[in-house]
């Protein structure tokens, strides 16, 4: 592990999510490129040979492997094995990072056997509850979410690609806490909460407070995210708008908007932004919407504020100005669709 990144990896939330482009992502974050270069060299060398020697194959560093048989068992293992243990959910962020040796946990606790137990989307007590091992594919296919929390469906259509969505999980994505990850802003905009469990009990954290920073969440070393809860409200409509360069790529920018209408007036609003820095929501843009009636000039004002609140970094996906422009435009589009859905004008 390398200097700055090693520090960041320590205390990292340990489940994994979706990283379809880890080389670019690491590069973009301005981290040490040494691991990337050596990884590429290794791969080239391997391909030029007829016989592949085991040492040449790009594989993770050695680790001890455990299979969790229950949530309690996973928590017990986390406590016993200590901070060098990591939870493995779908594996599509953590395994690529381990191959690049930017992550090298001593112990891996595989949650795959919990895919059934923690794989669910259900309506209960006025909210939708989603188990942490629910795969992206299941979220995309959910009629309940498509009907009541459409922002999830919009976002899932454009997360990674269908094969990655077959493995990647909501819990892994959230705990990986990549700044370009979509579901964090979706759930934050919808005012959802994360249920975190440890051996001593359970606590709920608002998704808006879930992230401590890039790749860092409030989930402690002996804790595990087990469920996401999103409230269901009347007069609600939501939408997610994303721009990406090609299929499977991460967002250049994305915005999720939720509106809760009562008698034609906006009673509540949620604005989540992805990949543009400056926090996962724009609370000032939300405040500008509340009490107004849905209209273009109202959306324009909120869009302007969201663009002010974001803090994008220039990279191969675009300049700061372009990303700021996108943030405003996508906020406008998401608000229009959210309002149309709230008014029942759109199925």
């Amino acid at each position: 592990m390398h200097g700055g990144l090693a520090g960041m990896m320590h205390g990292l939330a340990s489940q994994d999510g979706v990283a379809s482009d880890p080389l670019n992502r690491l590069d973009e974050r301005g981290m040490d490129r040494k691991s990337e270069r050596s990884g590429e060299r290794g791969a080239t060398r391997v391909r030029s040979r007829v016989t592949i020697r085991k040492d040449d194959v790009q594989v993770p560093a050695p680790f001890a492997y455990e299979r969790a048989t229950s949530v309690d068992h996973a928590l017990e293992l986390l406590e016993r094995l200590g901070p060098e243990a990591r939870l493995l959910a779908g594996g599509h962020s953590l395994l690529p990072m381990m191959k690049l040796r930017v992550a090298a946990p001593e112990h891996l606790i595989d949650l795959d056997p919990l895919a059934v137990q923690l794989g669910y989307i259900r309506e209960q007590a006025g909210e939708v509850r989603i188990g942490a091992m629910t795969r992206h594919r299941e979220i995309l296919a959910s009629d309940l979410l498509a009907r009541r929390l459409t922002m999830f469906t919009d976002a899932e259509r454009l997360i990674a690609d269908p094969l990655v969505r077959n493995r990647g999980t909501i819990g892994g994505a959230l705990c990986q806490a990549d700044p370009a990850e979509d579901l964090s802003s979706v759930i934050a905009a919808l005012q959802g909460r994360a249920v975190i469990r440890s051996r001593s009990g359970e606590r709920e954290v608002a998704m808006r407070e879930f992230h401590v920073g890039p790749y860092e969440t409030v989930v402690g070393e002996a804790e595990m995210l087990i469920e996401v809860r999103v409230p269901l409200r009347e007069g609600a409509g939501s939408a997610y708008e994303k721009v990406k360069r090609r299929a499977g790529d991460w967002a250049v920018a994305a915005v999720g908007a939720a509106l809760w209408l009562s008698g034609g007036t906006i009673e509540g609003a949620g604005i989540g932004t992805t990949a543009v820095g400056g926090g996962v929501t724009s609370e000032r843009a939300e405040a500008a919407l509340v009490g107004e009636r849905p209209a273009e000039e109202v959306f324009d004002r909120a869009a302007e504020i969201a663009a002010e609140d974001c803090d994008p970094v220039a990279d191969q996906r675009g300049s700061v100005d372009y990303k700021r422009h996108l943030t405003a435009e996508l906020t406008r589009r998401a608000l229009r669709r959210a309002a149309a859905r709230a008014l029942g004008a759109e199925a």
Partner: protein
């Protein structure tokens, strides 16, 4: 550690390192080299196999995780000398040039047709959107999959081809 998984209907038990990836398990331990090993970063999809019926990128699944699951590889498409309609489709419609992406493309096509026997062109394109053909032969790949949808009975078609 010891793992046991079912590959193309046959059960295999092997002693492996926990860090061994499913691609390498299939290729190096079982000698099933039909599954190709490409980018190793879950971008290209040439390593795609079916895990309990769903296509996954086997370079990003631990063999240990796949233990206890049902795996199907390109070697499992042909049954008793009869090609799967997907394989016939790739042959009929020239769905491959260099052939490197082909095993992954065919496995995803098989899973798509199992779930949706009559996909639209858009649905086919979406299904293979996680896979890269560096020969850029996407149009013929889409046609090949569509051909397989139009000719679901492999055995019948083998006779047609022969005659």
């Amino acid at each position: 550690m010891q793992i046991t998984m079912t590959v193309n209907g046959e059960e295999y038990t092997r002693e492996v390192e926990p860090r061994m990836l499913l691609t390498h398990f299939l290729r190096d331990e079982l000698g099933l080299t039909g599954t190709h090993w490409g980018c190793d970063t879950s971008n290209c999809g040439t390593c795609s196999v079916l895990m309990d019926g769903d296509p996954v990128k086997s370079c990003t699944v631990l063999a240990a995780t796949a233990s206890g699951h049902q795996i199907r590889t390109v070697e499992g498409l042909e049954v008793d000398g009869v090609l799967d309609p997907v394989q016939q489709g790739f042959s009929e419609m020239h769905g491959l040039q260099c052939g490197f992406c082909t095993p992954g493309m065919m496995m995803t096509a098989r899973a798509l047709l199992d779930e949706n026997p009559n996909p639209t062109e858009a649905e086919i394109r979406e299904a293979i959107s996680g896979q890269i053909c560096r020969c850029t032969g996407y149009a013929t790949i889409v046609r090949s999959i569509r051909w397989a949808a139009d000719h679901p009975a492999a055995a019948t078609h083998t006779e047609e081809v022969a005659s």
